[in-house]
Every structure is written in structure tokens, then in C-alpha cells.
């Protein structure tokens, strides 16, 4: 087996995995923090992708720049969804199950709204740099992938900084480490949960745009993205941001490497099989959970 193939697969796997990670951190956050499995997470990301597409086509706005518009709006949307839909069920006995069914409903609604607004045609974000590459030795680096990778790095770092450095971020962490004591400190749990959810949805937007730079997307693409989300989060450990980042990369690397060594048709079997093994032997993820 030759090295160029291995390294090239590895590089593209890492870059790809970084974008999965970006898409996955918010999902991990809501699942780990408030026990809400938001199966419409990827659908929000898809909305951001479609908005980025439209802004790019109509105003020539760079997809990354479009995040300036989509992230705040998605944050607001996420807050509204939390306040009116998620919050009422957080007192239920089985929040996890209820939240899955509820957000499944949201996903169906959003998908069909996208279908109504944008139609069913597949879309591509083809910018001026989409097909540009630079080479280091025999290895090629594709701009959109590098950009996606950078976005992921920035996204993960931003969320990490927010959680570690700002007072609100610390309040978010406090609320899920010790919800009762956090309330005694004067933290409004509902508000903090809303911010967390809004933030998660906003991060899905960044992830969605990242995915759109790698893949074509259609109104039903979120179903597929959702599977990646579960992969990333389970591997990385629920609620663990850096774990999700590492999980995304790991999945990318596994995919990349197995593409270099295995018949392609068995790659997905391998990925899901590995995930099953991880679940059986390390049900809480490969990385020690740190909130």
C-alpha cells in the first residue's frame, strides 16, 4: 500500500471529520446538558446551508460571511424553539424519549418548509475557491476542506472559550454540573438552558455551512447528517465538546484510512460496526467525559 494514498486519505479524512465535529458539538451539548436529543439539529444546519446558498447566489456573499446572518438568527430560532416547545417537556419523566419524538416532528416540519421555499433540487456551494488546491509535496490540500477545518477549529475553540472564559459560559457549565446549586447562585436555569439550546442550534448552522462546502445538499440531507451526529457524539462521549471534536476527527480518519485499505463498499459497515463495539465496550465514549 502506498504512502501517498494513505496520507492523502488521512488528510481528507481529518478535514472531513472536523466538519462532522463542528456539526456535532451542539448536538453533544444539548444531549449532555439537558438530556435533550435534538434530532432536528442537523435540519437547522441544513437551513443555514440553504440560506448561505441563497445569499451566495443572490448577493455573492461568501458562505462563511453568511454565518454573520445565519448564526444570530439560528440562535434566536433555537431560543424560541426551546422556550415554547422544549421547555414544556423538560419536566416529563422521560425527557430523552419525549425530546426525540418532539424534535423528530420539528425535523419533518423544517424539511418540508425547506422543500416549499427552496424546492427539491440538490444544491452546491461552488465559490471561487471551491476547486482551488495547494500542494505540500505530493499531498494536496483543498481550499474548502481547509476552510471547513478552520471553521471547525474556530467553532470548537469559540464554544470552548465561551464555556471556559465568559461568565455566561461558566453559568452554563455550572448549570449542568450542579443544576440545584447553580440556581442557588442566582442562575436562571430556564434562561441558561435556552441560551445553551440557542447556542447549539447556532453551532449547527456553522456545521451545516461546513457540510455544504463538502457535499451537495437537498431538503432531505439532514437525515444523513443526523447519522454522522450520532457517530460523532457517541464516539466522543455525550456532553464532551473536545471529545466530540476528537470523535469527529477519529471518524474521519477511520473512514479515510479504511478507504485506503478496504473495499469501499464495506466502509460504512466498518464504521457502524466499530461504533457498536465502542458502545458495547466504552458506552460513555472513548474520551473521559469532562463537562
Amino acid at each position: 500500500m502506498n504512502l501517498v494514498l494513505v496520507f492523502q486519505s488521512l488528510i481528507s479524512g481529518i478535514m472531513m471529520g472536523a466538519v462532522y465535529a463542528l456539526l456535532g458539538i451542539g448536538f453533544s451539548l444539548t444531549w449532555g446538558v439537558m438530556k435533550v436529543i435534538n434530532v432536528s439539529h442537523a435540519t437547522f444546519g441544513l437551513i443555514a446551508a440553504f440560506v448561505a446558498y441563497t445569499l451566495f447566489k443572490v448577493f455573492g456573499m461568501d458562505p462563511v460571511a453568511s454565518l454573520a446572518v445565519t448564526l444570530p438568527s439560528l440562535f434566536g430560532l433555537g431560543c424560541l424553539v426551546y422556550w415554547f416547545l422544549i421547555n414544556p417537556i423538560t419536566r416529563a419523566k422521560a425527557v430523552i424519549v419525549s425530546s426525540m419524538i418532539l424534535t423528530f416532528g420539528i425535523a419533518i416540519i423544517l424539511e418540508n418548509l425547506i422543500l416549499l421555499v427552496w424546492g427539491a433540487d440538490p444544491r452546491l456551494l461552488t465559490t471561487s475557491y471551491t476547486n482551488k488546491v495547494f500542494a505540500i509535496g505530493p499531498l494536496y490540500f483543498q481550499y474548502p476542506r481547509v476552510l471547513g477545518f478552520l471553521m471547525a477549529v474556530v467553532g470548537v475553540t469559540a464554544i470552548q472559550l465561551f464555556l471556559k472564559r465568559t461568565l455566561t459560559g461558566k453559568a452554563v457549565r455550572a448549570a449542568w454540573q450542579q443544576s440545584e446549586a447553580s440556581q442557588l447562585c442566582g442562575i436562571n436555569l430556564k434562561k441558561i438552558s435556552m441560551i445553551t439550546f440557542g447556542l447549539a442550534v447556532a453551532s449547527a448552522g456553522a456545521g451545516g455551512v461546513g457540510m455544504a462546502m463538502l457535499y451537495s445538499f437537498e431538503p432531505h440531507s439532514h437525515n444523513l447528517w443526523l447519522i454522522y451526529l450520532f457517530l460523532v457524539v457517541i464516539v466522543g462521549g455525550v456532553g464532551n465538546i473536545l471529545g466530540a471534536a476528537a470523535g469527529g476527527m477519529l471518524i474521519g480518519v477511520i473512514t479515510g484510512l479504511s478507504m485506503a485499505f478496504l473495499p469501499y463498499q464495506w466502509i460504512n459497515v466498518l464504521t457502524f460496526g466499530l461504533l457498536m463495539l465502542i458502545l458495547i465496550f466504552r458506552p460513555h465514549g472513548l474520551f473521559r467525559s469532562e463537562v
Binding site: L167, R173, E180, Q183, L184, C185, I187, L189
Partner: protein, 234 residues
Amino acid sequence: MLRIDSITAKYQDLSAISEVSLDVEDGKITALIGSNGAGKTTILNSVSGLKELSSGRIYWNDRIISGSSPDQIAALGVIQVPEGRKLFPAMTVEENLELGAYLPGPRRDWTKTRKRVFELFPRLEERRKQYTGSLSGGEQQMVAVGRALMALPKLLMLDEPSLGLAPIVTDEIFKIIVELNREGLTALVVSQEVLQTLSISNAAYLLENGKIVLHGAAGAMLADPKVKESYLGI
């Protein structure tokens, strides 16, 4: 200053406390004693707004606070040091203290308050960068008290501050409570350390099965055989 008027709280259909009334006077230390499961924590949680009441009212400076959310009550300066510390384990001592001063009022000059907390608990300053999960029980309790002090409390409610601590640490904690009280802090202390608690308190209430069975001046309570019976069954 804090007046609890005939409150009842239930878990599912089950009463944890029924028709409890008690007063905490300004500038004094009030003790709340009673055996395990008597409902002491439920009372504190009712005051803090963590527990919904099924009847009765709680007044803070003649203003009804029962029904308010925990953060609103904390904003009034009614601060609880919960049982079992309930620190944020994956955060440093400093971060825990910072979150104590989360509300806008205490936040304004929280570095000053922090300096004061470090004066009270010099050991915390040494460990400011450590995760609280890795601290010893006594140090954790200091963080818990420190975190509550960061909120500039008008009423400090301590739930079992000596639980699981070495006697020497318990002494230190109680000493600090007294010192703070001398500076004007009102406190409500819930503890199993009957003697020590009563010896620093002005007034005391004995709780049994969710009801107040005895109350009076702390000194008088010390001599009451009912107290010993309640604890030792002798």
C-alpha cells in the same frame, strides 16, 4: 427578617414538612436541628425556591417570596450553602467563587469580595486553580461557604456544614460563621452537630417528622432532654 408561616411541602402525595412556622431574626444565628429525614433540607429548599410549597407562605422583610424562582430569591440576598456542598466539580475554586457572584449586584465588585473570602479561608487562595472535585471534604466545604459569601448574602442558610468533616475542620467552619455573624450576617444553620450548633446559636428549632416540636433560646434547648432523645432514642 425571614418569616416562615405554616408551610407544607410534599413529594408526590407525601408530606415532607407540614405546617412549619419559624422566624429568623436579624443579626442572629438560628439553628434548625432534628434527625435525618426530619425535613430540615426541605425547609431550606422551600425558602430558596427549589421546592414548591403546597400551602403556607414565606416572607422576607415582610415581602412574600414563596412562589418566586430560586434565582429571584438569591437576588434578594437569601443564599443557601446546600447539603453535601454541591460544588461545580469540574471547575476551579476560582470559577466556583466567581459563579457565587453571578448576580449583577455581587458581580460589580466581586474581586473585592473574593479577596475577603481568601482572607477568611487562606487555604482556598493556595488552591485557587484546582478543580474542586479534587479537594478534600473540608476544603470543599470552605469553597461552598466561600461561594455563598460571594453573593453578598443578607441571610446565609447552611445545610449540614459539618457533614463528613474532621472535627478540627468543623470547628474552623463554625468559628467563621460566628465571625461573620459578629460582622452582622444573619444565619440559619442546619446541623447534626447538635452541641456545637446550639452553642453558637441564639435561637433554635427542633424538627421531628416534618413538624416543629420544640423551639426556644439555644441555651435552653441544650438542656432539654427531648433533644437527646430525638437523636439517640435514649
